[in-house]
């Protein structure tokens, strides 16, 4: 019994799938797709510049969401507060890189084959090429070709002589530059990925006289890639001796910063050195960088509680709210008894009180004052749950009143206020400055920056190198005399000087070019 078996179904499906895959690949790696993806990535980047981004400021995102609840309903599901980490943005740039790789790999193969090939043979009809010149040879034809050969080599052409004449080509670096540029972009991306996985970044606020040890527990906030062993950070200590800040006092740009200088003592491997830390001049501790990111004021206060004990003494970091450093101040005194105390208000470096209320009118500390209200509550057991030191939460607290008015007080350095009902007192001892340091490691940076450098180099080669082919050979002219003809072809768009090169080549061979009978278009 012989039956004709139908072709296995799976094979047919495979064939279809393979065709499909090939079709998708061809589409994806076409220049047209690359163009579309480039437009898409440009468009996709735009919303992140107009909508507040979590990566830049959580606070502004929170304010925006509160102010625009309708927009928020659209923005949140689309990930528009985190554009550059959203799936759709990643999808576009990853597709772009797939398209780039698909485009570049075959071209590398073509280039590798082509770069070793000799220049193409002399075409049969040189006069049909764009640029053409011919003339009479006075002496020996071979001599003329020798001279042409010499001229071509002096112009860095790759030269091949055959019985047909001379073929010459130059500008191989153009495509090399093009390939280098695109490959370098891949390395830029790899560098970014390395930094993401193996790098870390954190900040710490340090008051003058205090220090920071590079230990995960000492960071105020800390972000690290998945491959970072956070128990093995480079050990070092930075102590902030003094922080000098100078502001513009003249008419123009009054209050603008003019100088930030942190004098720090850096201890690495047991050796301590004094260092100057400034904006644009980070400390480099064996690859871990310490940047000066911000500054503010710390109010020094002493709080005596209702039982007459000193319950708090020291600096309280205040958080600047505007360019003149009106600074939100929260002083928590959990150890005060019989009730714990919390003071809330503002530290104003240059205080004035006018119709807008108390505020600071200059960023330097010319008239420092503390404006506070007081709160009390039953002592709470420390739960170990981290609590934000800089925000005020009135839960479980009662405001200290004087009759039916909340107690408010303004203090200058050295002044003390006694709370009513014997709840305690607060003395404003003075102020010092704090700096916010960023401690970071970006191990992919050399790869990224190296990639960028190679990309720029490749770009220059691919845009400025002029690939050109020239041919020259001896001919027998219609009148029987010995002649010479030369022609050239440009292999890149928008290049000039081809006609000059052809004319120079003929001239170098010792022949004066005759005017061509018809002008080339």
């Amino acid at each position: 019994m012989s039956t004709v078996e139908p072709p296995p179904e799976s094979e047919a499906r495979d064939y279809g799938a393979r065709e499909m895959a090939r079709w998708v690949w061809t589409q994806l790696t076409s220049m047209r797709t690359a163009l579309v993806l480039l437009f898409l990535v440009a468009l996709a980047a735009i919303p992140g510049s107009l909508i507040p981004q979590r990566s830049a400021s959580l606070l502004r995102v929170r304010d925006f969401r509160a102010a625009h609840p309708t927009l928020d309903r659209i923005y949140t599901p689309l990930g528009l507060y985190d554009v550059y980490r959203s799936p759709w943005f990643s999808a576009i740039y990853l597709l772009l890189f797939v398209s780039l790789i698909g485009c570049i790999l075959p071209r590398i193969a073509v280039y590798a084959r082509g770069v070793r090939k000799p220049p193409p043979r002399v075409p049969r009809r040189l006069d049909r090429l764009g640029e053409y010149a011919s003339g009479v040879v006075d002496g020996d034809g071979e001599d003329a070709l020798d001279k042409a050969d010499e001229w071509l080599r002096s112009k860095h052409f790759r030269v091949v002589r055959s019985d047909d004449g001379i073929s010459a080509e130059r500008g191989y670096l153009r495509e090399l530059g093009n390939l280098l540029f695109h490959l370098a972009l891949i390395f830029v991306l790899i560098g970014v990925a390395v930094s993401q996985l193996m790098g870390f970044k954190g900040t710490s606020v340090i008051v003058e006289g205090q220090g920071f040890s590079n230990n995960i527990t000492q960071y105020d906030d800390f972000k690290a890639g998945g491959w970072v062993d956070t128990d093995r950070l480079k050990p070092f200590t930075v102590k902030l001796n003094t922080f000098t800040v100078r502001f513009e006092t003249g008419e123009v740009q009054r209050g603008a910063a003019r100088e930030f200088t942190a004098d720090v003592a850096l201890t690495v491997d047991g050796a301590t050195t004094n260092q100057v830390l400034q904006v644009n001049h980070p400390l480099n501790v064996g690859g871990t960088l310490v940047h000066l990111l911000g500054h503010g004021y710390a109010a020094h206060v002493t709080v005596t509680d209702g039982s007459g004990q000193v319950a708090y003494s020291g600096p309280a970091v205040t958080v600047p709210q505007d360019g003149n450093f009106s600074s939100l101040t929260v002083i928590k005194v959990p150890d005060a008894r019989p009730d714990r105390l919390v003071f809330q208000g503002y530290f104003l470096p240059t205080a004035v009180v006018d119709e807008q209320g108390p505020r600071s009118i200059f960023p330097d500390a010319l008239n420092p004052q503390l404006f506070l209200t007081a709160w009390y509550g039953a002592p709470v057991v420390s739960t170990g749950v981290p609590e934000n030191l800089y925000t005020f939460n009135p839960e479980g607290l009662t405001q200290v009143m004087n009759g039916d008015q909340p107690v408010r007080f303004a203090l200058k350095p050295g002044e003390t206020v006694d709370l009513p009902d014997g709840r305690g007192s607060l003395t404003f001892d003075g102020y010092s400055r704090w700096t916010k340091l960023q401690i970071s490691s970006t191990p992919g940076l050399p790869l990224t920056m190296g990639g960028v450098a190679v990309a720029v180099l490749g770009l220059c080669l691919s845009l400025f190198v002029r690939p050109r082919r020239l041919w020259i050979r001896t001919i027998e002219r219609p009148d029987g005399s010995l002649g010479l003809e030369a022609a050239g072809l440009d292999r890149a768009d928008a290049r000039t000087g081809l006609s000059d090169d052809v004319a120079d080549l003929v001239a170098a061979a010792g022949v004066r070019a005759e005017p061509t009978s018809e002008e080339t278009p």
């Binding site: 690359a34 990535v41 510049s49 830049a56 008419e251 910063a257 904006v279 940076l445 768009d493």
Partner: protein, 297 residues
């Protein structure tokens, strides 16, 4: 008169001279209206001569404007005792100085005087706005700008800005001429311009020159950001739009190698590119707050 006042006078004078130059170039285009480039009757010849006279007048006024402009920028640097591009006023005047120098080199030595109309428009509006709206008195720099990259990053930005703007002017003229030719043979000033292919080639060269420098500008900014802010890229609005501009010009270069996008398609992309550049400079500085905000504006 202080050096600072001399500087302000230089910029105002330049704005006025550029405006006059723009009017001369407008007259140049107007004089060529309806004039066939091949006509050689005496009337047409006289009108041709008049076109030429207006054009030369425009160029000469631009040269005078450039001298006043250069004085203004240099005097500003002397008055401030630093590179004169620390705020928006200074950056506009300094970058336009690069534009006028690029234009004059092209017009005088490479026969590109046809760029005169759009260039003098840009110069007069730019310097005019700088002198009236953006002007601020001389002041020292904020600490974030105390860096050698302040010179490198911004000079590179100025050079690429000049080339992008010159390229955009050529692309716009290309589009005008292409539109006129699609309706029949172009006449008037458009007919006196180089052919479409030559315009396209020139625009390409300007962009091809600018693109690597722009790439370098962004890279230099990124290195500076690593020193100043401890991160080389943070999608700050200014960075985002620099990236958008970069991508659009990358698309321009790809478009010139893609069938169906050469010529008009590419020219439109160049116009979009320069628009993103200007939005980054004007829109982002004035509308959006970011790390690139210094000294008010």
């Amino acid at each position: 008169m202080t050096v600072e006042q001399l500087s302000a006078l230089g910029i105002v004078t330049a704005a006025v001279l550029y405006l006059l130059a723009f009017m001369a170039h407008s007259a140049e285009w107007a004089a060529a209206r309806g004039l066939s480039p091949t006509a050689d009757d005496p009337g047409a010849k006289a009108r041709s001569a008049s076109v030429e006279t207006w054009g030369r007048l425009g160029l000469n006024l631009t040269i005078l404007g450039a001298l006043a402009h250069g004085t203004g920028v240099v005097a500003r640097g002397i008055a401030a005792q630093r590179a004169p591009w620390g705020n928006m006023y200074e950056f506009v005047t300094a970058s336009l100085l690069f534009v006028v120098v690029a234009y004059l080199v092209l017009a005088i030595w490479f026969g590109k005087r046809w760029l005169g109309l759009p260039t003098t428009l840009l110069l007069s509006v730019g310097n005019g706005l700088a002198a009236t709206v953006l002007h601020v008195a001389v002041a020292p720099l904020v600490p974030a700008l105390h860096s050698v990259w302040f010179i490198i990053h911004i000079v590179a930005a100025c050079i690429s800005a000049a080339a992008f703007n010159v390229g955009a002017a050529a692309s716009i003229i290309y589009l005008l001429k292409a539109r006129a030719e699609s309706k029949g043979a172009s006449s008037g000033y458009l007919a006196r311009l180089p052919g479409l292919r030559e315009l396209d080639t020139f625009a390409y060269r300007a962009h091809a020159f600018a693109f690597p420098i722009w790439t370098f500008t962004v890279a230099a900014g990124s290195i500076w950001a690593e020193f100043a802010w401890g991160r080389y890229w943070g999608w700050d609005p200014k960075e985002t739009w620099a990236f958008v501009t970069w991508v659009v010009y990358a698309a321009y270069l790809h478009a010139r190698a893609t069938a169906g996008w050469r010529g008009r398609g590419a020219a439109w992309i160049a116009v979009v590119g320069v628009a993103t550049f200007w939005f980054n400079f004007v829109g982002i500085n004035l509308l959006v707050s970011g790390l690139h905000s210094y000294a008010g504006i």
